[in-house]
Symmetry: C2
Subunit: 388 residues, 2 copies
Amino acid sequence: MERPVIIGVGMTPVGEHWRLSLRELAVEAILNAMDDAGVDRVDSLYVGNMISGSFVEQENLGALIADWAGLGNIPAVKIEAACASGGAALQEGAKAVMSGLEDVVAVVGVEKMTDAWPSDATRYLAYAADAEYEHFHGASFVALNALIMRYYMQRYGYTEEDLALFAVNAHANGAKNPYAMFKRAITVDTVMRSPYIADPIKLFDASPVCDGAAAAIITTKEKAKELGVPKEKWIEVAGFSRAIDTINLANREDLLTLKAAKVASERAYKMAGISVKDIDLFEVHDAFTVMAALSLEAIGVAEKGKGAMLAKEGQIAIDADYPIQTMGGLKSRGHPVGATGMYQTVEAVLQLRGEAPDGIQVPDAETALTQNIGGTGSNITITILRRV
Amino acid sequence: MERPVIIGVGMTPVGEHWRLSLRELAVEAILNAMDDAGVDRVDSLYVGNMISGSFVEQENLGALIADWAGLGNIPAVKIEAACASGGAALQEGAKAVMSGLEDVVAVVGVEKMTDAWPSDATRYLAYAADAEYEHFHGASFVALNALIMRYYMQRYGYTEEDLALFAVNAHANGAKNPYAMFKRAITVDTVMRSPYIADPIKLFDASPVCDGAAAAIITTKEKAKELGVPKEKWIEVAGFSRAIDTINLANREDLLTLKAAKVASERAYKMAGISVKDIDLFEVHDAFTVMAALSLEAIGVAEKGKGAMLAKEGQIAIDADYPIQTMGGLKSRGHPVGATGMYQTVEAVLQLRGEAPDGIQVPDAETALTQNIGGTGSNITITILRRV
């Protein structure tokens, strides 16, 4: 089975884009990606977006964005998988290429969150949880994650300081990424002195509400050659899968196992013909610090209960064994929810092309994994990208 | 290129389901379809839905529905293309099968609209239009369609009575469909005596706000044989495409040409290797009566400006040359927006299997076309189904 390749990527800086609307952000990212790929047309468009209806009163994003990007009368739809919408859109784009129906596919992840009141943002994000069995009863999305963090610390004997190390690592890398929302390093003390949002989650354990868009152009190897894209630029979508888990936490077999990530990563490793040992960098979904720990365990980097040990032992830095959040992750680069999976994709592609910014390039990176979580682990995508 | 086949379909009645939630509707349709196909598992799930976030404060529908249907840790996402979400989801499911990555795919279209206040429903439906250039200025979705209807009548000399004939035909057929919302015949007089919503659109020119879910199981021919599905039940997804047009009406080349339907139907005919003459029945998107007329023109059944003539000349009835809305269409069966494309699919499959209800079976139907419109024609899907 021939794997597709990513031949171009583009993005906007992540931040509070008061002067840009959703369509403008998306168009900028797409045109950047088309420019990078050297193509002036695409066969179809996939838009990863979680919740534009609530945030900006706009659905029908496929038509909106393809129209405003000037892409013509192509097929275009929105893919929604809560905060994993970007990762899922990439996979649908890859599948479209593999189906033989579409040769050159654009995928963009976009979210415009700052047009809503912050209290409304909290409400809208909870739509990723179970509306009837969680949100209706007053559980916000951060509150659900706080339950998980509290239990993780209690069961494995970690402290809040231990988990803060994930935020410290993310900011250390994000400080060197010009596209990151928070471009400054922090210390454990910064995290500990930040206010509680939902005990034990503090402001600096959590990713920010923000805007952004990131895009990629996918095609077949044959077409990439035909288009004259230099081979150094081909990044293979070597393996991918995603899986769901119970939408509400109460139904989970184990609150501390991201089963969807476990199942999806096993399928993705098999498809790519590799094991976790072959991967050089990991962009995992640290919407909250504890999620970084659970993710590393679920995808097989750490044993169960040992995810936070990797941070304590200094193994997640750029020059260590398991570099994660190499461009800042959700915490420092930012988390425009439906766009995040595509930011991870763009960042992984830049790493594999050796084009990461100074100080955060993972040396000789050949294989990267991105993991994008929707809900409290209820919909997780895993994608493995590889130099050709 | 091997075409996939639909081996099972299922649906709920369309109506105001006060006692059923979105997840319950979707699960019922999926389990009915799996039962019909004789399968007890699927590889993945595609959910067509326009706007659950606004209507029921729930996103992440892939996880929610796969979880509650007991489908296990499979890939599952929501596909959004405004009111064409159902049609787009079917096409994504077919593409997934054609990619070789997934063997047996479930597709469900679902919408739960009656949990919102009617005034909110009007607002949410306008998210299919251009939020910044149309809705923001007070144009509701029905108002935009009213502009189109007014212009159509003015340009081609039709009367409101002429367009009412599409509603009369839809109700005549829907009266015989036990799953339809409005199971009674009406006359032109019924339409003319109904109140104006947005002049010249009257209540009976418009499809209703309602709830429902419809599903299909898609697989390869090889797998269908392996599963022992009798060949009479195989309905081939012979050709399909979709296209976007400008999201707002002001940018259209011509207000009365559904260019997206024209482009998409040409591509779909080519993929299926047929012409419009080979099609035995048409499920077109009559959200408003004028849309039925424009659709028939765009897909090549009628010449430009002659769509409404087909209704006047009695050519759209079950036993006429171009049967449309054979089970009631959006007007009488109902229009639970994101589910509609899948209702069209299920109905076309039943017609092709010869299992339509008494009085509305199209004799010896071999090929059917479904056309599902998102926005005011800005995102249109065309799918051609055929007996094997």
